[in-house]
Symmetry: C4
Subunit: 206 residues, 4 copies
């Protein structure tokens, strides 16, 4: 099972790396391997995410500490993944920086959220009504990770979800790696759509 989860996460990493979604070694990924005790794989700090190696991930516990002795350091933002697994039944969580999610987080940052409506892609969030409204919260970026993790935690609800950190990328989660990736892709689609639309309909209310 460990190997299976590892490969699942490595496949997601390859796919996102291929889209250049880990520029400047940014981004980090996690996948749960057990509930009792809570153990999950998380990306090791400072690795080139375009390469696939045996040191890409390490196993950490409910405090984000390595389960076994290792020279690898868990990603600086491991605490955000910890919050997700503590509060939900999510099985996978992804933190990714793209131009689009950073720009959206800055443009709508003062409002504390960005809203989407009438766009077919919001069905990826399991919203099927014709006038369903999707709100993605945007929190302030705090350089102190435990503080950031605490604020991030307040926005977590449900086994799938997405939270933007201002100028610091998006974090998404889902019950499986497939679902987390679906949420991520749908979010990125909506962000880019919104930015392109604003260029042509600058005064529309959303």
């Amino acid at each position: 099972m460990l190997k299976e989860r590892w490969n699942e996460l490595a496949d997601v990493k390859d796919e996102l790396a291929n889209r250049d979604w880990f520029m400047g070694t940014s981004g980090n990924l996690a996948i749960k391997v057990s509930d009792h005790p809570l153990h999950f794989f998380v990306t090791a700090s400072g690795k080139d995410k375009r390469k696939r190696t045996d040191e890409d991930f390490l196993l950490v516990d409910e405090f984000g500490h390595p389960v076994e002795q290792t020279h690898l350091k868990p990603s600086a933002e491991t605490l955000l993944h910890v919050e997700i697994y503590r509060k939900t039944n999510a099985g996978c969580s992804l933190h990714v920086h793209t131009i689009d999610n950073n720009v959206i987080s800055e443009i709508y940052g003062d409002q504390g959220e960005v809203t989407f409506k009438g766009q077919e892609l919001i069905k990826a969030f399991d919203m099927w009504e014709e006038d369903a409204t999707l709100k993605i919260p945007i929190i302030r970026n705090d350089a102190h990770i435990p503080t950031l993790a605490a604020k991030f935690s307040e926005q977590i609800s449900g086994d799938t979800g997405a939270v933007l950190i201002r100028n610091h990328g998006i974090t998404v989660w889902g019950k499986t790696a497939f679902e987390a990736k679906k949420i991520l892709e749908a979010s990125e689609f909506l962000f880019r759509y919104q930015l392109r639309l604003l260029e042509h309909k600058p005064y529309q209310i959303i």
Copy 2:
């Protein structure tokens, strides 16, 4: 023949997936395998379109129902493909969400169509006169698929064509997979061209 059609559709899927044209598991594809009775392959619901598996497509009939017993579910929008094969001699139909086709559908949505003229690429639609005008209809997105399919059906004419659904992607069809793909690529080229041009010539009439 079945295997041949399957592979043809799988190749198209791979190519479009490579362009990231199935974000958030959006999009669906179909290819006809027989006229009497009307049978066609259509994408199974909820699959990762970047992977190539034996469960990517299933065979459905003129009502969009699976021809054989299967645990696979036909794509939610199978009824749109049904309408195409009922009303035309098309052999392949593709439904794809891109940023560009969604933005175009929103910008020109109130007009009910988008018009292209004087652009070489409209020759892909078999229009060769120097002042030929291409009109792509834009219909309202209806969350109730049978209603959507009925409205979509009104816009179908000819063995090749393209219809935009507002904020819900484009559906194209052609006599072969190659032709359907050509119509799709030419449409996407024209959409992106139009959006870029509008940024620089905002007041032009089209």
Copy 3:
């Protein structure tokens, strides 16, 4: 030698296809194989340029007619390539549609040319002075290919060069396939640079 030239052109085709520079089966390529008589390979009409097959190109003469009996049809724009090989020592010529070259051709179309200055990339055109000015002519698109070829011919000078046809892509040539590709890439770089710059410095004079 024939095989060598074929492969050289096929490699260029693969590379440009990979960038999605042949949308909707647009574009055509040629490479010279002999001067006396003038023979060159040119893309066959109506092929999928993302695939590499034995029917991608055919050999034509100084009138653009097939040298051997074949079921293949030379690209509709073969006459433009003929003009290049008749008037220069070019060994390779490429005709490509991109969003950027089409938008540039429309924005600067009324001026009949687009001008670049103070941009390092113009060195690809063998211009090394600090205040060198590169002018790329833009001609009217004529649906009648012989008329278009005649107008195109007036703009040909030198063994490397580039000409835009309004809303109908760019044609470049060079002594070798490598050189033609260099001119094409530098042109596309300059076009996209210019469009992006105009978004931020709309009133600058160029």
Copy 4:
């Protein structure tokens, strides 16, 4: 060791070429192989950087002259790399033209620098304070390379860094190829972010 460095540089070249960051044969790369005497590999002039061959790089000394007899010519901008290895402990340096870095260099060229603040990605430059400010200098492009190298040299400080040359790309360096690439990617991310943001918040002060 020589072979190892060669491969490291060739891997970086492949990766950047894959992103189309060497359009029109622009760009050049270097990696140090020894300090005493100062020897480094640098890209040979006039090569297709999308191909991987035995003639992609050659060994040069502290004056940028080939160490062994060769028909290969060091890249025209080798002197810029020389300045980096003379003044710092950098092990790798990359000079790359992208649309984004050229547009940024032109927009902020008169100010002589571009400033970034409050963006998570500046941590790639080892700046961790919440209100850290990153300044990337922009120097005038001089067609005379020794003059350009002298001006460039004035901006070099520290074992990692980045300098823009107006309309002539960016040069970055780091202690290793991995670090130089990280600086390059983070810079490009920030440039594109800035350009997209300016489209939506044109009057913001940065």
